[in-house]
Symmetry: C2
Subunit: 653 residues, 2 copies
């Protein structure tokens, strides 16, 4: 029987994968319409895009910034992964950002960006994103577009139902995907059921500087927690998580986690839990996790290891946690702008289930339960149901909203986006995607105020959409105009890494406050050289510290002698430019690290351990001026037993 | 005096930087024309771009693939830098690719891609690119779009006048930018003049499999060698290199390397040198350099350290090396499709100098020399000159050709592309760039057969061209239609890293042979698991080897016990898919390396050193099917002194 189920799934998967790739041309428009679509996505030289789209990098570990409607990538912001391009995760200043309780981790899998909100509307201060593999949440500044903070999430594994914010950014929420022994310990895997648990973490965000702290973790039954979204408006104070594998299987999950006809959406009254812990509730338990902060004034990150976390047993806070039955392995968990509708997309179901917040409250108040799971009350499906969307599609995953009463749901298996009406549940339009769409994004679509002009479909299979580039292809996005009754496919554009979710925001909310330079007179880096006459070289035992400044088109100093094989040579380089877009780069031949890319007013440091005597050049790696090619210098490296003293030329007179 | 010169340059630089940024809107077209430009760059969903453009990543160390005219990025191919996205430089199979004589180097600065040629025309077999910092040349397959080979270049530093191929890809040529002591040794930097030297390396390319070998290095005077291009047609057999810093200054180069009114283009008769070494000429000298090869059938790289290299003193091959005087610090060195014209762009000169190959041969035959430099004959400027282009621009850098008798030169300081006529030297058109253009690229522009439909300008300063994203911006490209008499600016698109040069090729020459999968039945990886029943776990001392297979939607095995703290756990994972675009990813929580991204039919390996007892999950990182979220497993890690035996569940019945 199991075997049969398994084969059925395999067959289903292959067949549908094929069928979704049958039509290789996604453009049903006529030539005339093409030209109009061309104009709609064309941003002429000198003009700017209308929206920013922040796309998770997925397995790149980073966050990419695109413009809409053009689909052009403006930046890759390194977050969880080493980034040789700028030296992130290689420079002395940024290596602490990638420290964890497991040691230095140079990679992660970033999934769901979410922009900070005030009163349920995008405020454009920060963007958060989760590290899915080694559980972490990062906060990125939307003025510098740099990662400012990363906090590890203990008792978690596969930090997937993350990182979504409450409507005043009181919390960024991180839910485990995989349940594990809490605390982690050596135990047989097949004792999973009833013993493993899942942590849902509420991480407070300081309203002034954004600093994160794990306020509490709710320790839930050993299900898989897939996605989540906050309540908003009337449901503000609640948070909703989809679960799957309520079967608590630990092997061959593709079959064994798909047995139950219904799994759950977990509804969490986090305000109630917050009050409970504010009154001394919860239990502090030992847990090692890293908290990494990047300070913009010192241009330097620090890593601190925290030692304990506050856990909450949901049974100790009656009335705070409920389960809403939801058809078969729901994936996305989306809440409409009014906060009334909670949509569970049963990925193995054809229909969308929409729960009603009002119905849920009424059912809770009426104590109409349908049993419990590990002591947590289960509400009756019929009691909380608002409606069912008979979509006709297969494999619904995610839903976003246009703020005009419509919802848009992706269907992975039938490769389409379906537009439907909130309240009447009628299907209004459907358009194919190429191919196998995952998430979709409408700017502000996860807030009280969406900007419903475009929807972007983030597709998982690319195949023939672009010129072929060998077995490995980029993933692909498609942008649709949703300003009319029917959706209109405008354009395909490749995306870098594997964008899972994305967060969009109107350009006018971010562009005016984007930082252009770092002020040199505000540079508090301990090794900064604020004027060229402070440039110098110092020896401390076998460490050599080179305090260097750089400006078009030279380094100061530019000739250095007295370094020896076996020395650890630190280059501390301050970029003295104060004009926008004049970085300098620094590279040393044979370095066992990356380059440094140093923004105006910034200081960065790199370590070089020369292995051979000789005269070795360094140079600027970013073409900065007409005399960039002349921007170079030499370090003389003498044998370890040499008695040559340190000396250097300032190269200035 | 020196001080004055320096200040003048600083002033000049700032003033021109400002002036180049004054006009913030690059679009001089009317609204009606815009719409036509929109159509020209729009590639409708389901349609394909007309050209591939391979852009160097610059300080990303990689190579990116774009489509033209759309400007969309299809891929980032990791070459010289670690790439967390796919595990390149982290996986056991690819770590050897980044070995050098200085040890493991995780980064480089990639500058000038060049596509292999047959009879002077693009043949689309391979693309070569240089590592500028730790001198290396890479060869990338244009069927798999993977880096297949990297060879280090000894006696070099700042491998900039690289990597250009001769017209039958007999050689890929690598010239040093910085001169250094040869062999490297401890000596005072200020003894540079007369003692440092520059190596120009001719690297043979096996016509069948493309393997590279350094055939010989010509040891030249201690100038800086900036750029180079091959002769073609009648000048096939020659190679041309620009030099600067013929002053042989070693400090404050921006001033001290700009004193001479003329520097040189070095003309190398490589056929003559080849014959010389084929007859036993040259001197083998000790030199350590790495040669790294990736084998597509084993999916594995190996690194070999070579021990000697053949050097040639140009004075030993009379008639093989000459200097052509060329105005002030020439940067680009470009040869027209006929092979007659050699263009030296004096970057501090307003005019372009065009040398004539025929004139050069006549002058050599007439022995009309104007002295010598370190024994190398200097030809008379007037004797070799073909013409001067009175461009009216400032800071000429690079020239490409459209195959219709026209040349296009970039001007960094005056921010423009100037179109001029070969032979008459008249200026036909000029268009502004935004801002400060470096290289430019016409597909096939460095061959006997350019495809002169578009030119792409690769700009160095971006500033306000796109939505702002903090102090660090991507660089920017602009595409112009050059099918008519006047150039027409079509579109701006951001580029990833810092593209220096680029190489373009018509899609029809590459697309048909692009590989879609690796055949599983051809997988010769020593740790491959070709059928799921070969999946197993083996202990060898404290090494645990997990031989794993993966297919939608499970790993085999999926539960593993008996691993202990202190073990070194190797995951060897074979992707059993045989469909296009179905990679699987693999990540293990807390890993101190990147993920693996495994293409269909491929095997990759990752090492994990678990530090804590517990039950730790792994999962697929690439959304591969409707049941991707179920694609996971667990490893139980017991304390070091545990006596639990290895066991695993195949997860298949």
């Amino acid at each position: 029987m199991k075997k049969y189920t398994y084969q059925l799934f395999a067959l289903l998967g292959s067949a549908l994968m094929l069928s979704s790739c049958g039509n290789q041309n996604g453009n049903s428009s006529s030539g005339a319409l093409n030209s109009s679509n061309a104009e709609k996505v064309y941003v002429a030289p000198g003009e700017h895009d209308e929206f920013y789209a922040f796309m998770s990098g997925g397995y790149s570990g980073n966050l990419t910034v695109y413009g809409l409607p053009s689909g052009r990538m403006f930046k890759e912001i390194p977050v969880f992964s080493q980034f040789p391009t700028s030296g992130y995760g290689y420079s002395e200043e940024t290596k602490p950002m990638l420290e964890t309780s497991h040691g230095f981790v140079p990679w992660d899998d970033s999934h769901h960006p979410d922009i900070s909100q005030t009163n349920g509307e995008l405020d454009g201060r920060w963007i958060f994103i989760n590290g899915n593999n080694t559980p972490r949440i990062a906060r990125i500044s939307l003025t510098t577009f740099e990662t400012e903070e990363i906090i590890e999430v203990p008792n978690s594994a596969g930090n997937h139902s993350s990182s979504f914010v409450t409507e005043n950014t009181e919390y960024v929420v991180a839910g485990t995907r995989f349940s594990v022994p809490i605390p982690q310990r050596d135990m047989p895997i097949n004792e999973y059921k009833g013993n493993f648990q899942g942590a849902l973490s509420f991480i407070s965000v300081d309203p002034e500087h954004g600093h994160m702290d794990i306020k509490f973790q709710i320790i839930m039954p050993g299900f898989n927690y897939d996605l989540s979204h906050p309540g908003r408006g009337k449901s503000h104070g609640w948070f909703f998580f989809t679960t799957y594998n309520t079967e608590e299987a630990n092997s061959l999950q593709e079959v064994n986690s798909s047995q139950n006809d219904k799994d759950f959406i977990a509804a969490i009254n986090w305000k109630m839990v917050e009050e409970y812990v504010n009154n001394g509730g919860g239990k502090k338990v030992p847990a090692n996790y890293a908290h990494n902060l990047y300070d913009e004034s010192t241009h330097t990150a620090t890593s601190t290891m925290k030692k304990e976390v506050l856990t909450v047993n949901p049974l100790d806070v009656p009335g705070a946690v409920f389960f809403l039955p939801t058809p078969k392995s729901p994936h996305g968990c989306d809440v409409d702008p009014s906060g009334e509708y909670i949509i569970g997309n049963g990925k193995l179901s054809a229909d969308l289930t929409v729960h009603s917040f009002d119905n849920m409250i009424a059912a809770i108040e009426g104590k109409k339960f349908d049993g419990e799971a590990y002591g947590i009350p289960i509400l009756k499906f019929e009691d909380v149901l608002a409606g069912v969307v008979k979509s006709g599609g297969l494999g619904p995953l995610h839903t976003e909203f246009d703020g005009k009463g419509n919802a848009y749901t992706t269907f992975f298996i039938s490769s389409e986006v379906v537009k439907w009406k909130l309240g009447t549940w009628e299907v209004i339009d459907r358009k194919p995607t190429y191919y196998s769409v995952g998430h979709l994004m409408i700017p502000g679509g996860n807030s009280r105020k969406p900007f419903g002009k475009y929807v972007v479909a983030l597709n998982k299979i690319t195949k023939d959409r672009y010129l072929p580039v060998g077995p490995e292809m980029e993933h692909s996005a498609q942008i649709y105009d949703i300003s009319g009754e029917k959706m209109e496919l405008l354009y395909d554009f490749p995306t870098h890494g594997e964008p899972h979710y994305a967060a969009g925001i109107p350009a006018e909310l971010l562009a005016p406050k984007s930082k252009k330079i770092y002020r040199l007179d505000e540079n508090k880096h301990p090794y900064a050289v604020l004027t060229p006459d402070q440039a110098r070289v110092e020896r401390k035992g076998n460490e050599v510290h080179i305090y260097m400044s750089t400006i078009r088109s030279h380094f100061t100093p530019d000739n250095i002698e007295g370094v020896k094989v076996g020395d650890k040579v630190y280059f501390h380089i301050t970029n003295h430019e104060q004009d926008f877009d004049v970085p300098h780069g620094f590279a040393m031949i044979g370095q066992n690290t990356s380059e440094l890319l140093i923004m105006p007013g910034q200081t960065k440091s790199s370590v070089w351990e020369p292995k051979k005597p000789g005269v070795w050049p360094f140079y600027c790696t970013d073409f900065c001026s007409a005399l960039h090619q002349e921007m170079q210098g030499y370090v003389r490296v003498s044998p370890a037993d040499s008695n040559i003293e340190l000396s250097w030329s300032l190269g200035e007179d």
